[in-house]
Amino acid sequence: MRERPTMRALLDHLRSRGLLNDDGMAAIAKKLAPQEPPPPAFVRVLVVLGAWFSATFFTVFILATFFRNQQENSLAMGVGYLAGATLLHRVARHFFFHQVALALLVAGFILALVGVGEQTSGALERDAVTATAIALAAALYVLYPDDLQRFMMPLAAAGVAAITLMDHPSDGQLWRLDVYAGLELAATVLIFTNVRLRARFLPLGYAMAAGALLALATHAVWREEAILRWLFGTNIAPFFLLLRLLAVAAGIWLIRWAACDIRPEPGLNNAWWRSKTVWAAVCAILLLGVLVPPGVLIALLLMVLGRGSAERRLEALGAVAFAGFLVDLYYNVDVGFLEKSLVLIASGVTTLCAWWVFTRSLPGKGGDPCAPSTPASPLPQP
C-alpha cells in the first residue's frame, strides 16, 4: 500500500482547493502543535507490566482479606472497582495510572460477572451473566474512553455470549453460533465500510472481527461440514446455511464497496457492474460460499476489508485467520493421506491457474502483475 500523505500535505491540498482558509489553517496548526514525544515502547511495556502485576496482587489481597467468607459481595466489589477505575482514568494524567485503572477495570469486570453468577442459578445464570457483560461493555464504551478498553470489553462480552450459545453443543444446534458469528461479521463490515462509524467505533469493529473469528474457530473444533451433509442428503437445519448466505452477501457488498466507494484501480470503469474483474470476484465469492467452510471465506473478507480501509492490523488478522482455517479445512478433510496430498496439489494448481488466467486477462499489463496498470477511463469522482 502506498503510504498516506502527512497532515501538512493534506492541509496544503485543502487550501489549494479553496476548502480551507488561513484562519482555519492556523486553528488546525494550533491543535496539532508539537507535543512531547510519547515514551518509548519499552518504557510503556514496563509500565503495563508493573500496573497489571501490581493490580493483580492487590486484588488478591483485597479478596483474601475482606471477602474471605463473603463471596456474595463480589458484585459490589466489582462495581466498586469499575467505578474507581473509571474515575481514575478520567482524572489521572500519567500513563502509569491509566494502566492501573485498566487493570482494575478488568478485575472489576470479572468480579461483577462472578457476582452476578453467584446470585443467579440455572439457565437464568447464563443469560444474566451474558446480559451483564454486554451492558457493562456498552456502558464502559461511553464512560471509559480508551481504545484498548473499547476493544477488550466488547470482545470479552462477545466471548461470554458465545460461551452461552455454545453451552449445549451436543444437541446439534450449532446454528446459533453460526448466526452469531454472522451478525458479528455484519457489524464489522458496517463499521469498517463507513468512515464516520469507523472513526467512532474502530476498536469495536476490531472486537467484532476478532469475536467472529474466535466463535468460528471454537466452533470448528467439533462442527460437521454442513455442505457435505447437504450434498449427501442428510437433513440439516436451514440455519446452517444462514452464515454462508450472510458471508456471501457481505462479500458482494465488499466488492461493490471496493469498486466504488474507495479509490478504485485505474482499470475499472465508472459502471462497476460492467467490470469483468468485479464479476469474476462475485463468482469467486459464490463458489467459495458453497465449497469452503465459512471461516475461510470470512477470513478472506476481513483481508479485503482491511486492505480497502487501509487497516493493516485487520488485514493481518484476516491473513492469519485465513491460514488457520485453511489448515483446519485440509486437516479435517475425511480422506486418506495420499488423497489429501492430491487434494492439496489439485487445489494449489487450480489456484495457480486462476492466477495465470487473471494476470493474462488484465488490460495493458502484458501478464506482469507488478507492472503499473493503464487507465482505461478517468477515475470516477463521487
Binding site: 480551507l20 496548526a29 484501480e265 492439496l344 496439489i345 495457480l352 502483475p369
Partner: protein
C-alpha cells in the same frame, strides 16, 4: 518534540477535525478522498493467488513425498535433497545476492543443507549425535554466511551453533569443570559466552561498516540471549539459596557483570534504549525475585495476604521506578551526541 503535522493523515484524524468544527463537510469529504491511498486490487489479488497456490502445491508435494517416503530409493531421497540445494544455490547466484529473490534462494539453500544432512544420517544410520548434525550444518553454512551478507542467514547460523552447544552438553552430562559441576550450568555459561562473543563481533563489524549486520533486532536478540541464559541460575540462587552450589554463585556473578557491562556499553558507548531496556528489565525481574523472597521467606513472618499487598507495592515500585529512570535516560539520549547515536542506531 513531535510535530503532529508531519504525522500521516488518517480518516480518523479527519473526522476528529470535523467534529471540532475545524473542517467543513466539503473539506472533510475532500480530505477523505485525498487521504485514502489508491488500492491496486489486481496486484494484491495476483500476489495472493500466487502465494496461496504456491503454498498449497508445495504442501501437497511434501505430503506426497512423505506418503511415499518408504518406497523412495536412497538415490531419490539423497539425490533429491542435494539437487534442491544445488538448484537453490545456483538460482541465488543467477538471481544475484543483491536481489530479494537471490536472498530467499540462498537462505532456502542453507535450510536445505540441514535437511540433506538429516536425510544422510537417517539413510546411513551413522550413529552421529544430534549436536554433530547441527555443528556440521553450521560449518557447511559458514561459507554462505560470509558470502551472502544476509542478516537472516547469519542469525540461522547462530541458532545452529546454540543448538549444537545445547545438544553437546546434553550428550555429555555431568562433566566436571572447575566450579561448574553439571551440564545445565555448562549449557547456560556456554550459551552466554557464545552469544556474548557473537554480540561483540556484531558490534565490532558494525563499527567497521558492515551494513547487513546493522539491523537493530540482531543486537536485541543477542542481548536477550546473553541475559536470558544467565537469569535462570541467578533466579534459582535467589529462590532456593539453601540448595545453592558454587557454580550458581559464579553464574550470578557473571550475570551481574553482564548487566553492568550492558549498562555501560548501551548507555555510554553505543546508546540504545532498547538494549538498555532489556538490561534494566533483567535487573528489575531479579530485584522482584529478591524482594519477593524477603517478603515471603524473610526475617519477618508476614501472613500471606499481607505478603500479596507487599508484593503489589514492590512490583509497583520496581517497575515504575525502572520506567521513570528509563524515560529520563531516553530523554538524555535524545539530547546526546547525534554522531554516536547515528553510527550505532
Amino acid at each position: 518534540m513531535v510535530d503532529l503535522m508531519e504525522n500521516q493523515a488518517s480518516p480518523e484524524a479527519v473526522e476528529e477535525l470535523h467534529r471540532h468544527g475545524l473542517l467543513s463537510a466539503a473539506a472533510r469529504d475532500a480530505a477523505h478522498r485525498f487521504v485514502r491511498p489508491p488500492i491496486d486490487w489486481s496486484r494484491w489479488l495476483s500476489r495472493w493467488l500466487l502465494a496461496t497456490g504456491a503454498v498449497l502445491t508445495l504442501a501437497g508435494l511434501i505430503c506426497l513425498v512423505a506418503y511415499n517416503w518408504n518406497d523412495l530409493g536412497t538415490v531419490l531421497k539423497l539425490g533429491g535433497a542435494q539437487l534442491l540445494v544445488l538448484a537453490c544455490a545456483l538460482g541465488a547466484w543467477r538471481a544475484g545476492l543483491d536481489r530479494f529473490l537471490g536472498k530467499i534462494l540462498l537462505t532456502s539453500a542453507g535450510v536445505l543443507v540441514g535437511i540433506a544432512l538429516a536425510l544422510y544420517g537417517q539413510v546411513y544410520q551413522t550413529g552421529a549425535d544430534t549436536y554433530e548434525l547441527f555443528l556440521g550444518w553450521a560449518v557447511l553454512l559458514f561459507g554462505w554466511v560470509l558470502v551472502g551478507r544476509l542478516a537472516a542467514l547469519w542469525y540461522l547460523w547462530l541458532v545452529l551453533l546454540n543448538l549444537a552447544v545445547c545438544f553437546y552438553w546434553e550428550a555429555h552430562p555431568r562433566t566436571s569443570f572447575f566450579l561448574l559441576p553439571d551440564e545445565e550450568a555448562l549449557t547456560a555459561v556456554s550459551l552466554a559466552v557464545l552469544n556474548a562473543l557473537a554480540l561483540a563481533a556484531r558490534e565490532r563489524a558494525v563499527v567497521r561498516g558492515v551494513a547487513f549486520l546493522g539491523e537493530r533486532w540482531l543486537r536485541m536478540v543477542l542481548v536477550l540471549a546473553v541475559l536470558g541464559t544467565l537469569f535462570v541460575p541467578s533466579a534459582m540462587l535467589v529462590v532456593e539459596p539453601s540448595r545453592a552450589e558454587a557454580w550458581m554463585y559464579a553464574c550470578a556473578g557473571v550475570h551481574l557483570a553482564a548487566m553492568v557491562a550492558g549498562y555501560h556499553v548501551y548507555r555510554r558507548v553505543w546508546p540504545d534504549i532498547g538494549a538498555l531496556g532489556l538490561c534494566t528489565l533483567d535487573f528489575s525481574l531479579l530485584m522482584i525475585f529478591v524482594l519477593g523472597k524477603l517478603v515471603f521467606d524473610g526475617p519477618v513472618d508476614l501472613p500471606w495476604e499481607l505478603g500479596m499487598l507487599a508484593m503489589a507495592i514492590t512490583v509497583l515500585a520496581v517497575f515504575s521506578g525502572t520506567a521513570l529512570w528509563l524515560r529520563n535516560v531516553h530523554r538524555a539520549m535524545r539530547q546526546g551526541t547525534p554522531a554516536v547515536e547515528a553510527r550505532h542506531a
